[in-house]
């Protein structure tokens, strides 16, 4: 199998490594400038580097891993130069690109992996293990091409998942892009409300809610722009929902409707997240423990749980207002929760289900 890669960053580089090592593919990297390809060769992400697209020859699979705004041109070049290849991309939005590219050999793609770091230096063969990899076939897509691409993606370790381009974009807007927008706005609003005063220590809610505020500005500006239609619709939806809360606040004298609304959000969050976090052992359970805020405590807890074979699938440590104590929240398999509470309590830290 021959694989052509344009753009050998974190995602492209990891595709190359996995394709070479897991599928025995011959991977050709194409870039107008040779420097990035040298690094990719050294990292074992490609077998061969070419600076002229015609040197690729032929390919079964061609993947564009370049920045969102360079994608249409890269995809068109690959479709034109490699008529036998199924051509795909790894961009974070799909609607606009799929509409812009009419070539029947193109199937949009988006692996959900690798958001935290960038560059081929962080590329690794197992980046896509068990990751959802969205693919956007069209009515006109040849079955043989979709099958080839889905098998390739599965061969890299991912779970190929077909989705309509606009459903994909709406989903990403709701679970990723809108939370980033809101984090930015909460930070701006708190800055104004404080008017130069110091933020008081208010527990972990503000820190958690704004953790992604301001992440990687050039990348996120591209992501917001590329998904502007779906993100705009989600923003409008949030405005509508904020209006409903405003109505509840004004009308709900005894707080019963607010309490019901708050309760429903908790139920929805558990339904959304616990399944995703558990990794096979059923829904994850959250336990919380009060601990002194000093070196060694987190280690002590994590060690005690590790020794008992209990995996921590998610963790949050937040100082209390006094900055001398804190609360550790741990997400665990429900089978482990009671045992974990006992182990943490035995270390002298009061623990309970959240």
């Amino acid at each position: 199998m021959r694989v052509a890669l344009v753009g050998v960053g974190l995602i492209g580089g990891s595709v190359g490594m996995a394709a070479r090592r897991r599928l025995g593919a011959h991977v050709v990297g194409w870039n107008r400038s040779p420097a990035p390809l040298e690094v990719a060769l050294q990292r074992g992400a490609i077998d061969e580097a070419v600076t002229d697209i015609d040197e690729i020859g032929s390919a079964d699979i061609a993947i564009a891993g370049v920045a969102v705004d360079a994608l249409p041109a890269a995809v068109r070049s690959l479709c034109a130069a490699l008529p036998d290849a199924v051509v795909t991309d790894v961009g974070s939005t799909k609607g606009a690109l799929v509409e812009a590219i009419e070539h029947p050999n193109f199937i949009g793609g988006h692996p959900l992996a690798g958001a935290e770091s960038t560059g081929v230096a962080h590329a690794r063969e197992d980046l896509f293990q068990n990751a959802t990899w969205y693919l956007t076939p069209r009515d006109a897509t040849a079955g043989v091409l979709y099958e080839r691409l889905a098998r390739f993606v599965a061969g890299l370790g991912a779970v190929p998942t077909a989705i309509a381009p606009h459903d994909h974009d709406r989903l990403m807007a709701a679970v990723s892009h809108l939370p980033h927008v809101v984090a930015n706005l909460l930070v701006a609003q708190a800055t104004d409300a404080l008017g130069g005063e110091t933020l008081p220590a208010t527990g972990p809610s503000f820190r958690d809610a704004t953790r992604v505020a301001g992440t990687n500005p050039p990348l996120w500006a591209q992501i917001y722009s590329a998904n502007r239609a779906a993100l705009g619709a989600q923003i409008d939806d949030l405005v509508r929902r904020l209006g409903e809360v405003r109505g509840l606040l004004d009308a709900d004298a005894d707080g019963a409707a607010l309490a019901a609304w708050q309760g429903a959000a908790g139920t929805q969050r558990r339904a959304l997240l616990e399944a995703g976090l558990a990794g096979g052992g059923g829904a994850a359970r959250e336990i919380r423990a009060e601990v002194p805020n000093r070196p060694g405590v987190v280690a002590q807890i994590a060690l005690a749980l590790g020794r008992a074979g209990i995996n921590i699938s998610d963790m949050s440590l937040a100082p209390e207002a006094d900055n001398r104590t804190g609360v550790v929240a741990l997400w665990l398999s429900p089978d482990d929760a009671e045992r974990a509470i006992g182990l943490v309590a035995a270390l002298g830290y009061p623990a309970a289900r959240a």
Copy 2:
């Protein structure tokens, strides 16, 4: 010094413990039913239990630690029964209560402590150590009463901070209540966008942004209600800001303005949070490391840093999409950041400044 307490839960109980042990005060607990007072006596939170307010006799300080909707009546009773006392409360909003109580001996209060657990069972003497304790004196407040209350609060270990009632409520709405509202809405919106599909693993942003969704419905319904005016204004402000982002999305063809906006949010977040987290050692630095998602890894990292005397002031562990690897974010003193990166890297986990 004689202290009267009505409501001996987490906050009231901790006030009693700290007043008795740190200030040598005689603490009288008042409640219509004797059962909660028995527990408070056992826990050492009060010296004496009375079920009739007239049995209190006299007090220097009287504190209402009851639920928000029971506060006006409790404060009025204390003001009437204890004419020599400075009367305060520990409720989470101040504007409505301060307007409702005209008695000159009342000064509103709000310690920022103890949001994570409730009940006298979790009460402890050091709950308020270094915590901000907002006080809302009025123009008519006698200086001697404010001084007595501020000294008392400082004697419990807290930092008394005078603030106008409506400034307090606006600030709490922006940094705490609005983030809770938004978390609920993001969860509802994602649920609708998914339409029954499984939430894909999208990195930590959605989980962090919605961590507080649905927390303690009866308590939060009361908090939202009690702060409805300030929270409503913050909601309106968020709607306005969402409109601005909508405009940026539509107008910003090359993404420069979006990138600038994203960058500004990052700068603001650092300014807001790093000072608050550092606890004396300058602004906190965030470092991130990629780790395998298995028992023992967090312990190994925390131990290595603890052994080197490095304190972790905040931590977040999030699984990657593959659920086999994860990213650990650590907040540390900037003096420790480089050393921590080296120690974590020496364990075999690539680490870098975030």
